[in-house]
Symmetry: C2
Amino acid sequence: MAPRWKGKTAEAKALAEPMSVIVSKLQTSLIESNAQGLLSGSAVLLEALPEQTELLYRACIGRPVITAEKKNKQWHQLSFEEALYLCSVLKCIKVAGENECAKSDEEMWHYMVAKRVGFPVLFKAYSHLRRKNWVVRAGSQYGADYVAYRYHPAFVHSEYAVLALPDEDGDDGNARLKVWSDYHCTLRLCGSVAKTLLVLHISRNGEDVVSLSSLEHYSVEERIVTRWNPEVSRENQTMIMKK
Amino acid sequence: MAPRWKGKTAEAKALAEPMSVIVSKLQTSLIESNAQGLLSGSAVLLEALPEQTELLYRACIGRPVITAEKKNKQWHQLSFEEALYLCSVLKCIKVAGENECAKSDEEMWHYMVAKRVGFPVLFKAYSHLRRKNWVVRAGSQYGADYVAYRYHPAFVHSEYAVLALPDEDGDDGNARLKVWSDYHCTLRLCGSVAKTLLVLHISRNGEDVVSLSSLEHYSVEERIVTRWNPEVSRENQTMIMKK
């Protein structure tokens, strides 16, 4: 499926600067300014310089929070996935807890795993797609864990509705696609919003969820689920194509 | 939600003969002719007289099978739910197995329970709605167990997408609506096809699934799940309505 562009100039704008370049600029800028986020319930708040605000928007990470504070700074709200990705993968921010002390990546991990059911599998899926320069946003509107965009959402519609499913059953269990009616529901919805269902089967390979570092040993198997169209492999289809 | 009629004359036609009257005529006619179905894999085949064919159509039970047989008879394919409902609730057909001997209701029950995962809960849901004169059809197109119509599908669109969920976990388990993403998916799809989600929570009340007669002791709790619209209870909404 080709990307569905939003408007005529979108393609040129999106191709002008690849996501990897934007994320790399954001990374450099945050490292230089010693950026530090604040853990706040189920989110992380990050104060950013105007340049960083622009880069966060273009990388599609976090969302600005409206405050009445200093004009040259802007607060952003990051999801757990976004914050942990900036901390532990891009290594460009630190996050402080309530006592204002910076937390280690492992401390962040423990906090998030305790706070959110299924977080290890969700974060593995998020970071897996982000590393491949997909733009990843929450998918609850479409009954999915995430949606994935090939470029910035200002330029394209999302291509994939993503479900992250643990291969092993357990307390991370994201109990989806266990019965046919769930498959039918998900595929019908994906069809009606022109997305493809991407199922990421994530296996812990015997690792436990105790440490963030064990995540490296998880494996991810990507499966696309679509309806099979019998016409595609039909004789007369080939004939039509030859005409 | 009011019924969504198909065309201008649909309402008058639907109201002219209530579903309870149609089903009762079908029942009488099948009893008079000593109708007997044949168990065939995951369906039951029933040979019907022209009058019965007409009544089966109007009651929306089974679907005609195209055959090259006798002109004055018509074969119909009944689902397990439909066949068992005609046998055990309306008591108007008998069903024979491969040996051409009529099976008892309990024998049918055992066959169907063994053949189809979750059948006790599904049949309880089907018969619960049918007894209330809803027209019940398979809901797989909408990722549901059933869809329910207020009148014949020729006159109205279906109003409800129905999921039948066992209250107890077990091997009947219909693993739906265990996680939020499944709720989001189901509600979004229901919204886009203008149906309301009807969840039938079915409790065995400690009964086992061994016998058909235990089904009488199952209880059914009907829950409608919709998005809550905060505007509905708002002050200015009342003011707008008063204008």
